[in-house]
Symmetry: C2
Subunit: 349 residues, 2 copies
DNA sequence: CTGAAAGCGCTTACAG
DNA sequence: CTGAAAGCGCTTACAG
């Protein structure tokens, strides 16, 4: 331990309704009702009590009120890894929307691991959250099925599941995104397009692949499975795979990466091998992180409107929590579009 | 709203201690003690009760237990903006450490705004968090002073305050970092070093400036105030400032930016004006984000060990929560070092 | 080793 | 318009 200084410890007991009641002569009940602006309290009483609360620096004990009312005004967001900008932007947007509705947000990482995801869900449930926004981790939907059995409202964000017609979800139009990315490269003359995809248990991975294949077929380019790779989205996965591919001498002139971080890693790795982007290889990413940060490398990328997607997920969760339209499921597919920058160029004839 | 499907709504009431008590014939008290592995429960009873709990899928109600025990096993992390990788990495590390100690983490953004910071603190307090890790927002320490008066344990992360001898903090050695960055540029022959700094109410801003000045003085280079700029750390701030500087024709050959995001934005802006890094201008950043993400632009940057810093802050918070060493304050200054990449080069003679 | 009672700080439902 | 009582689901402190 570093520098350590002596202090006087502050011991402060939080003000409760009881304190306000004692100091105003009303009962705890009346104080509670006055502070919540209930209609059947006289104006004078309300003012008096609210002033006293202000004076004492009263901060309500949400825990206690939740225990009785059944609502915690708390939600949990469960993502693979907040340190991935794609998720941190979503978390920011959700926290921001939640705050405006007076909800507080738990953040939990699942690291694409089924066990950690289950723990995260249980952790959220034991905190009695009113609802959960979750990007289901790769590897299957057992945890989500469990979550559904508990009856706690939740919304899937960014990925859907096989049986998702009984759940709410907000996803991007990943098939269109995959199509746009591949078509862009095809139109530039590329034929050997390496797809650095994520695990096929992730719906967006499957759908982007469908889009890729669709574009290839439309242009009459045969689909070669050795060009389609499933890679860990964890940092370092692309580097290892790409090294192997280059050693195997598999020819390719363009890369379509599952997300921008993987695209960056691909470019980084290529550069290490003195291969230049876009001079030697064209690269397309997904997520358009560049719209939020001025990354100095101008990456062509599929934009999936994280702000809109996140806010939509929160809105739906609110509806679900407040039991509106309980017979309906909300299935939102947010449009994607291609943002062309300087990481892609035409293949020389 | 998009596609909407009818469903059967699941209504599930959570299992409580009472349910387990009824089904085993013991009282709620005994059930509680058995599940918490208290010593004065017979082995047979413990096993029976734990099996029944497992069978019923019992998930404890933390809220209820907190109300009685006074501990929520919940912490809050308050940062300027989780979508900034510097903070999202810290949040990830803290959440990860917290989970291992069975703590759950609230995330709150202050956006460098005093009012939002106050609301975030109140929100955390009303959730009865056991402790708070906070990166104090720019503009003064009134909110932290308020937080201290409440008696809730907290640790400052990344920034300290004037009166911080009465608080715990973990910061980087910012002065050393500023010194290393400036000295590196000076050794490369640069003299007109533009410092794109953050607001002076941020301690790390003041300390990095002190390091910058120290290096300049050591090399006998006069300090010119027009080269030292205070800029909003919000995305877009650098671009505007830099445009203005270029229009004013103020000459500079190198930039030292308060953080990597600002450095990236500077490079992005320079490139837009057809100025190349490092050919025309050298750039040094701070935070070394590149160690966590394969950003394809190799930025020279000051590394400040976010993993170590975050974990340290959590450890100290734990000590504070558990009232260890209450007479001492923990003041940690984590070492910084320069990581030289390709964004800096010697000034031509 | 187990139980009966009280209480954490609120809100709810009802009485007057 | 205000109050007295009960209760949310646990844990604590004590009794036996």
């Amino acid at each position: 331990m570093g520098d350590e200084t002596e202090i006087v410890r502050h011991i402060v007991k939080a003000t409760t309704l009881k304190d306000i009641a004692e100091q105003t002569g009303y009962t705890v009940n009346t104080v509670s009702r006055a502070l919540k602006n209930k209609s059947d309290i006289s104006e004078a009483t309300r003012t008096l009590i609210q002033q006293k609360a202000q004076e004492l620096g009263y901060i309500g004990n949400t825990m206690a009120s939740s225990l009785r009312s059944g609502m915690t005004r708390t939600i949990a967001v469960i993502v693979a890894d907040v340190s991935n900008p794609h998720f941190s932007i979503a978390v920011k947007e959700i926290e921001s929307a939640a705050r405006k509705h007076d909800y507080t947000t738990f953040i939990l990482n699942s690291y694409e691991d089924q066990d950690l995801e289950e723990k995260a869900i249980i952790s959220a449930l034991s905190k009695n959250v009113d609802g959960i926004i979750i990007c289901p981790s790769q590897g299957g939907g057992q945890n989500i099925a469990f979550l559904q059995r508990t009856g706690t409202p939740f919304v899937l964000l960014g990925r859907r599941l096989d049986n998702d017609d009984v759940m709410d979800y907000v996803v991007s139009d990943d098939e269109k995104g995959g199509y746009l990315a591949a078509m862009h490269l095809l139109e530039l003359g590329h034929r050997d397009i390496l797809f650095l995809n994520a695990h096929h248990s992730i719906s967006s991975s499957r759908e982007r692949l469908a889009g890729y294949k669709h574009a290839m077929e439309e242009m009459g380019v045969p689909i070669r499975n050795e060009l389609i790779r499933e890679i860990s989205t964890i940092s370092g996965g692309v580097r290892n795979e790409l090294k192997e591919i280059m050693e195997s001498k598999l020819p390719f002139t363009a890369i379509f990466a599952f997300n921008d971080m993987m695209a960056w890693e691909a470019i980084f790795t290529l550069n290490k091998h003195h291969i230049r982007v876009p001079e030697n290889i064209s690269v397309v990413g997904f997520d358009n992180i560049q719209s939020r940060m001025f990354i100095p490398f101008p990456l062509t990328s599929v934009s999936n409107s994280k702000g809109k997607t996140s806010r939509k997920a929160f809105e739906i969760l609110m509806k679900r929590i407040h039991k509106q339209n309980t017979e309906l499921r909300y299935h939102e597919v947010v449009d994607t579009r291609l943002v062309i920058r300087e990481s892609t160029r035409a293949l020389p004839e």
